[in-house]
Amino acid sequence: MPMETPEYPTTDQLDRDIALMLAQDARLSFRKIAADLGVTEGTVRGRVKRLQGAGLLKLVPIIDIDRARDAGTGGQGSGQHMMFVTVRCASGKLNHVREALLAIPQVSALYDANATPRLVAVCILPSLDDAAIVMNQILSLDGIREAESELVLQSVKYNAAIGPIATLEDLTRQSTD
């Protein structure tokens, strides 16, 4: 995996407008979007395809974390707790630790941060028992100097429409196309 971050494909106002219209309802018809934005349906289809191909737009079902919990639907897919785990790695161990973290299914997002070898894992957990299981797994990994866990107690604001979502793999695939 290259250490250099690849170039991102350029985007314009039409890409932003389409992304905003799909943010509320990703199943909105392309015909409706095209009519509202004054372009052809084919243009909308092409733009969405290009953005999706580059990993810059993902059309995904999101289950509500609170209602899923209240409804008592344990088990498959319905996560209930969110936990950030910030891991500081021993020098030269970043790649090793990263692969080990990616092997943990409860890790729903993973990124590295700052110049220091720091990895941040966002975990979605069906129960607090799982928080203990995940922390035991992480702290047992070779090459970890410190792991700090933060359980989310309350969400005050959450913008589901924007985030750091394009993965290194998405961007690398794009630049070699």
Binding site: A26, L51, L56, P61, I62, D64, G77, F84, A109, Y111
Partner: protein
Amino acid sequence: MSDDRPQRRPRATALDETDHRIIEVLARDGRAQSTTIGEELGLSGNLVANRIRAMDAGGLMRVVAVADYRIHGYRMVARIRLQVTGRAPIEVAREMAQREDVLSVHITSGRYPVSCLYAFHNAREMLEAVRNASADIAGVEDVDVELVNNVYRYVPAVGPLGT
């Protein structure tokens, strides 16, 4: 299993087995047609369409488009964590939530109880935001900045849709 067929319903209050199977297909293709999903799962297209509407109406599940911050003209994203003393973290969190470029704010159990995902158009904006957070917001004791570099995984399966 009994011979109970999956039922139509106006508004879902909890996800059942049928809903979860539909969500699994949507996770592969968020715009899959109801009839296509139905064919794969052995259900009628009408029932699938009804279930998707009911989950949405009940606030349980929504198919959304998540855009990378670069589409919206931002150049960097950081998790900014605030250590708070002499004030309830929720008050600091609400102040941070009012800023347009703050994408999410969570209260956590950690040493830095206010955790914000913050997007910036350039480095100067980030430096100013960090300086403002410690200088202008009462109760902020310390600020930790975690600039997101490479993303290795992003699977947005669950989120607080209601906030």
